[in-house]
Symmetry: C2
């Protein structure tokens, strides 16, 4: 079988008119002789509307019920898209998550795909049908309808592509992956290609186009992914395995993350268990701690800084309230994180030196630094963000 998985997000199917346009895009591929599987999200703001309805009934709606409620959004869009294809004279069939054989595990609203019974999809493809699958949803072994959480439809699409050995095209409201968010730096360049590893760093560090989990599946099963706009025919970005040709570029992108909470705790008596206790308590409250830096002990007292999401502020505050009152705690929320990402950084030394030099020359103070094998991240004051993005983008030719 030669085929292709397409995925369209909510804005791409927000109205009947847009659904008809999506149908035409699918038909263009079908006419090339490709077997087509298409994953769609709920129309426009449907999911938000359903969450709001639930909120009018309960402050904390049961998550099993929430899954059953939210899964209707995609069920509506698959039926309508299928009708649009049939209206154009093509054979098509819609499948809900469970009808498409998508098996999931985990807690409701945050399920993970564990496997796909792909036979039904293959049978319909063999009959010449275009198969339209509801994104974001599946069924667990108890026969409960489940949803996959943020970025769930991308995950559905890449997982189906993996199972079918098809490439996966993600059509969205941006034209591809940019080295820097064009809303922050207008001259930002669109990338022709990016490796899974870089994309994962970019995604988890805030690029926002695709969720890291779908990239992880893509990497594991070597699914060629292509991200482009659903609104036009502009060339998008390929996400694929790293190869030598990408090496020339040391730095691929700069990703920016706002809504960072930076916490500094000082006056901690210098003992490993004191530090362990703090991070144990944060973990117990499911706070996702990101950057951690600890200064050397001074007069037997330590200080440590870490960042978390602003949305976890309540949980962080609760942990701080439990600490020894002699500790000094400072929480700041007007913080942004800038991350420079590039596979080339693995082998090339000197990138960090260059970055420190740029920031120093332009008098941009940074509060924390952390590094991974292919990235360096700086926590800076929000006020300095725009200037820092512009300068780094220019200097690194992004």
């Amino acid at each position: 079988m030669r085929g292709l998985v397409h995925k369209y997000g909510g804005t791409s199917v927000a109205t009947p008119e847009k659904i008809k346009n999506v149908a035409k895009r699918i038909i263009r591929e079908k006419e090339k002789g490709l077997d087509m599987v298409v994953v769609v999200s709920a129309m426009g703001k449907t999911t938000d509307h359903l969450v709001e309805l639930a909120g009018q009934i309960s402050q904390h709606p049961d998550e099993r019920e929430l899954d059953l409620l939210l899964s209707t959004g995609e069920q509506v869009s698959i039926a309508l898209l299928t009708m649009a294809l049939q209206e154009e004279g093509y054979e098509a069939i819609s499948l809900t998550g469970f009808q498409a054989g998508i098996k999931t595990v985990g807690p409701h609203t945050k399920n993970k795909i564990i496997d796909i019974d792909i036979d039904k999809v293959k049978d319909y493809l063999a009959e010449g049908k275009i198969v339209i699958v509801a994104g974001f949803q599946g069924m667990n072994e108890l026969g409960e309808i489940t949803t996959l959480g943020r970025g769930g439809s991308d995950t559905t699409a890449v997982a189906l592509a993996a199972k079918l050995s098809f490439p996966c095209h993600i059509y969205t409201d941006v034209e591809g992956i940019y080295s820097v968010d064009p809303r922050l730096y207008k001259p930002a360049k669109k990338l022709e290609v990016i490796s899974y590893e870089e994309m994962m760093e970019m995604a988890s560090l805030g690029a926002g186009v695709m969720e890291p989990r779908s990239i992880l599946i893509g990497q594991k099963y070597k699914v060629p992914i292509y991200v482009a706009s659903s609104m036009n025919q502009e060339k998008g970005t390929y996400i694929k395995e790293y190869d030598g040709t990408m090496e020339e570029k040391v730095v691929t992108g700069l990703s920016v993350c706002d809504d960072i909470l930076m916490v500094t705790i000082s006056q901690i008596p210098d003992a490993a268990e004191n530090m362990a206790l703090i991070f144990d308590k944060l973990a117990a409250r499911h706070v996702n701690v990101d950057m951690i830096s600890q200064a050397a002990s001074f007069e037997g007292l330590l200080s440590v800084s870490f960042t978390a999401k602003v949305e976890d502020r309540g949980a962080v505050q609760a942990v701080m309230d439990e600490l020894d009152p002699q500790y000094h705690v400072c929480m700041e929320s007007e913080i942004s994180k800038l991350s420079v990402v590039g596979m080339g950084m693995r082998n090339q030394s000197g990138v960090s030196g260059r970055l420190f030099r740029i920031l120093s020359d332009h008098k941009i103070p940074f509060r924390q630094v952390t590094t991974s094998e292919i990235s360096i991240s700086y926590a800076i004051d929000r006020l300095d963000k725009e200037r820092a993005v512009a300068i780094l983008s220019q200097e690194l030719n992004l």
Copy 2:
């Protein structure tokens, strides 16, 4: 198990506020120690809205896809009602049609329930949970989501009640079954009780409160049905097996049906096969022919009148166009059908005489008459309808 099935229609769950009220009604029964199974329709105008969406994509949307689309309406309301019960501190769980084990057969959009795998519902009841089931939907043996057509949620409710040996309460936007539609005759009396047979005649003859198919299931499995308002605590109407106590009343009700098309064909050569051909052709086009009356042959030529639904006008016209052009055809659509229904008419003669006398005394001409064992129906001009309803209701003390 001692339990009860409740069914709430779309207007009863049209808003989060109304859903919360329905939850309170269910809790009152649960607190009496009853196992509760609740069937709900889609919220308010949801189904109409979904049909309209489909209509914007296709003039004749595929019926499989339409089923998948429409079934989302009930899925939303079961999740929300379940959340409302949980919010009040009660254990509850929602089940889509297929999760509740509702197996169906037939063409899409018009499926019939063939059986219910009731174990899952029973298990949840045994755990003390209130079970909320999506009305109007099920799954066929291919694993396709199906819907049950008009009155489908009533059918779901009565079928579940039959399977569980529970009574079934249908809560709706009317306060029960009236001897005559109160919108047509204000002083109409609400019936305390009506037999399945009478209700079926009333339903199929146009009373509009319940679909005949759900009554048929109720009769077959002897499910006591109770119809009342979801908005207040007023006493409603019991639908149950006929017993002697109901006999005293000869006439139970008067049902009225508008949108009747009356067709008269004359100049037909007197041969049985000519008549057969006409009705064969009507059947082939799925025209539901209701009243038929044939006048005696005159000079070797016959004439016949029949009624059908106005919505079948196109199909009827197509048949008429195929007939021998020497036939004379007259189609009238400003026709209403009045039907007088009562179990007592089985044994009591003289009812028809009395009815003819009333119509004659008040100079109300009728165009056709047909009778069943427990009913007499008259086709009259729409213009005479209101006067005829008032006079018959008064004279028969309805």
